[in-house]
């Protein structure tokens, strides 16, 4: 018992240190190397002696990018954790309810079918208006997917059925996307494919007032329901017998996780892997399914992995979506192999 508590605080401490290191690294690395001590003084604000070019780079480019990566990673990790616990399924991820597919459909409608005006905006290097339109379309698409699945799930008893409904909705939305792609002209496909790569660079300071509160709200929901998530470890019947309002918890968790997943998809594109993998990494490291340590660990670990992926994605020709899986998958496999018995609820 004490052993587990100790291990928990050691892991959390190490992850916190790792997150700070990854954050600083992300600020220092880029088209030009900015030494860490410069980064530090720019952050504290006494950048008097530094050259203004570095200040601008850190402030306007790298800080929003790093913040986005940190929050997006944390959001996807937490959303994945919530879905995995809720559905008692190790393969569940933030997009299990068709959220990403809904967002994709929204974006595809804008990018692939819209008339010359929008295409013109995109032709001119993703102007701000077009960019906002993509974000809006993505939010609307994700929101519609969420409301359909939530509405259906209210009538359904078994969580497994909810999961299947979500998956089917995802497939349906994906099918529409495929039809749109098949009929689209090659010029428009370019920007569609670009969106699919995922990126943390699109969230500028102007978008932060929307991005940050949404993500923090989602994370707060998870942090405030650790006790309820723990009760769900034993399944819905037991949770209900312990006094948990299972229906309400299911709605809150599904909505929270989907908003996290949907917002990240809207602002950064469909980012795979992080959502499903981070919770497993943390369970493995902590050796525990207790959400009181699992939730903070997932936030920290999600931030670290997303920041590191963002750093590697600076290399030309490496889209973010490829990197999250490339660096994450081997790491996850190593952790799982070390815990042979498996760390997931069977």
């Amino acid at each position: 018992m004490t052993f587990h508590r100790k291990r928990g605080s050691v892991v959390l401490g190490a992850l916190a240190v790792g997150l700070i290191a990854a954050f600083l690294l992300s600020l220092a690395l880029g088209s030009v190397w900015i030494p860490l001590n410069h980064v530090g003084s720019i952050l504290i604000g006494n950048g008097a002696g530094e050259n203004t070019e570095q200040v601008v780079i850190v402030h306007d480019v790298r800080l929003p990018r790093a913040l986005t990566a940190l929050l997006a990673g944390a959001a996807l990790g937490i959303a994945g954790l919530q879905m995995q616990t809720l559905f008692r399924n190790p393969l569940a991820d933030p997009f299990a309810l068709g959220i990403a597919s809904g967002a994709s459909l929204g974006v595809a409608l804008v990018l692939l079918t819209s008339g010359a005006t929008v295409a013109g905006v995109f032709g001119s290097n993703l102007g701000l208006a077009g960019d906002a339109l993509v974000t809006a379309a993505s939010i609307v698409g994700a929101g519609m997917a969420l409301s359909v699945v939530l509405a259906l799930s209210r009538r359904v008893e078994s969580p497994a059925t909810v999961l299947i409904i979500g998956l089917m909705f995802g497939y349906a939305a994906q099918a529409f996307v495929t039809v749109l792609v098949a009929g689209a002209d090659p010029g428009k496909l370019q920007s569609w494919i670009g969106w699919g790569f995922g990126s943390f660079e699109g969230v500028t300071w102007q978008k932060m007032p929307l991005f940050i509160p949404l993500i923090l709200t989602g994370l707060a929901v998870a942090a405030a329901t650790t006790k309820q998530l723990n009760a769900l470890l034993l399944g819905e019947s037991y949770a209900s017998s312990m006094g948990l309002n299972v229906r309400r918890m299911r709605l809150v968790t599904m909505a929270g996780a989907s908003i996290l997943g949907g917002v990240v998809t809207a602002f950064c594109g469909p980012i795979a892997f992080i959502g499903v993998a981070i919770p497993h990494m943390c369970r493995g490291l902590l050796g525990s399914s207790d959400h009181r340590s699992l939730v903070p660990a997932t936030i920290l670990m999600g931030g670290i992995v997303a920041l590191l992926a963002q750093v590697v994605a600076l290399l030309p020709g490496l889209p973010l979506n490829a990197i999250t899986a490339l660096i994450g998958a081997p790491f996850l496999v190593i952790i799982l192999m070390r815990n042979r018995r498996g760390v997931f609820t069977a």
């Binding site: 470890l233 034993l234 037991y238 017998s241 312990m242 006094g243 050796g287 399914s289 815990n339 018995r341």
Partner: protein, 339 residues
């Protein structure tokens, strides 16, 4: 003793598409503090449905369950959870969770929003683990426990709740014989020592007849018999509830026996355990063992040993273990008697 749980004209079942499907209705049951009730009945008579309804995991069709003389519908979920605890047939296997944490989950309705445990909570958790005699397993991971061990912790989790009522749905299924007896013995002890009202559904008829204060016997068709095991046996309702072809309930042995007496009657002469075992061999081979009268075969067993002797058509056959007796009896049926 105070009544811990009472149902008044309770109806349980499922909500169908148009009309509700009633499984059981007009149930008037009560459990006192310190009483161990065993819920018996063939598969599909609604044992689990009843337990799930009383614990409000499933809505009742016609409501009226009183817990500690308060109507359960008026209790909030948490308040109900503080008084009543269930151990269900589902056995969730949770990976990466020490068994003691599983028991801590039982404190759920008593904890603050973050689920922090006070020193008092920890004390109760330790007491619950001691109560199921599983201290040595407490730090083990849940997924590494055997079925019987995990069941102990599921019961400890329920106890950590400090409920006044404990409902268990087939807690002894999948357990080996010693574990079954231990689990039932544990419940027996908990009912007395902790003054808990306990309702256990089980298929373990013989154990239930031996351990229960009261039986709730669900017969097919929704008829419910209640009473002490001995009264239920005398009423003959056990035999009626579990009616099936070629089995018969033997009240003296408090057990069901296969009824295939195709081979006629047999008499076993002898006393003590060895005579009883010899009779068991004959019964298995299809004889009806009777104390006296006309018989097809007569076996004498020497006192204190497995030496047996049969006289058949003026010839004497004998052996000194039950294997040879069984072989001989089978040979009689095939008409290949070799002395």
């Amino acid at each position: 003793m105070s009544v811990a749980l009472r149902t008044i004209d309770l109806a349980v079942g499922y909500r169908g598409r148009r009309t509700p499907i009633v499984v059981l209705e007009r149930l008037n049951l009560s459990v006192k503090a310190g009483e161990l009730v065993c819920l018996l009945g063939p598969n599909g008579t609604g044992k689990s449905t009843l337990l799930r309804t009383v614990s409000r995991i499933q809505p009742a069709l016609a409501d009226a369950v009183e817990i500690d003389n308060v109507e359960s519908g008026r209790l909030s979920r948490l308040n109900l959870a503080r008084r009543l605890r269930v151990v269900l047939t589902e056995r969730p296997v949770v990976g990466a969770l020490p068994a003691s944490r599983l028991v801590e989950l039982g404190r759920y309705p008593h904890l603050d929003w973050y689920g922090r445990l006070t020193p008092k909570d920890h004390e109760i958790v330790e007491w619950a683990i001691r109560a199921v005699a599983a201290e040595h397993l407490a730090s083990r991971d849940c997924s590494s426990l055997s079925d019987g061990e995990r069941q102990r912790f599921m019961i400890a989790r329920a106890l950590a709740q400090e409920p006044s009522i404990l409902l268990l749905d087939e807690p002894t299924a999948f357990l080996d014989v010693p574990s079954r007896v231990q689990v039932m013995g544990l419940l027996r002890r908990l009912a007395r020592d902790e003054n808990l009202a306990i309702v256990v559904s089980t298929h373990d008829l013989e154990l239930a007849l031996r351990m229960a204060d009261t039986l709730w016997l669900l017969a097919p068709g929704g008829k419910l018999h209640t009473g002490t095991p001995e009264d239920i046996i005398l009423e003959g309702s056990l035999a009626e509830a579990f009616q099936a072809e070629s089995i018969r309930f033997h009240p003296e042995e408090r057990a069901f026996r296969l009824e295939t007496h195709a081979r006629g009657r047999a008499i076993v002469k002898g006393i003590g355990l060895h005579a009883v075992l010899a009779a068991a061999v004959l019964e298995r081979e299809g004889y009806e063992v009777v104390p006296d009268g006309v018989c097809a075969i007569r076996v004498s067993v020497a006192p204190g040993s497995a030496r047996w002797e049969v006289v058949l058509e003026d010839r004497r056959y004998s052996g000194d273990n039950f294997a040879s007796l069984a072989e001989f009896v089978r040979g009689v049926s095939g008409k290949q008697i070799n002395p």
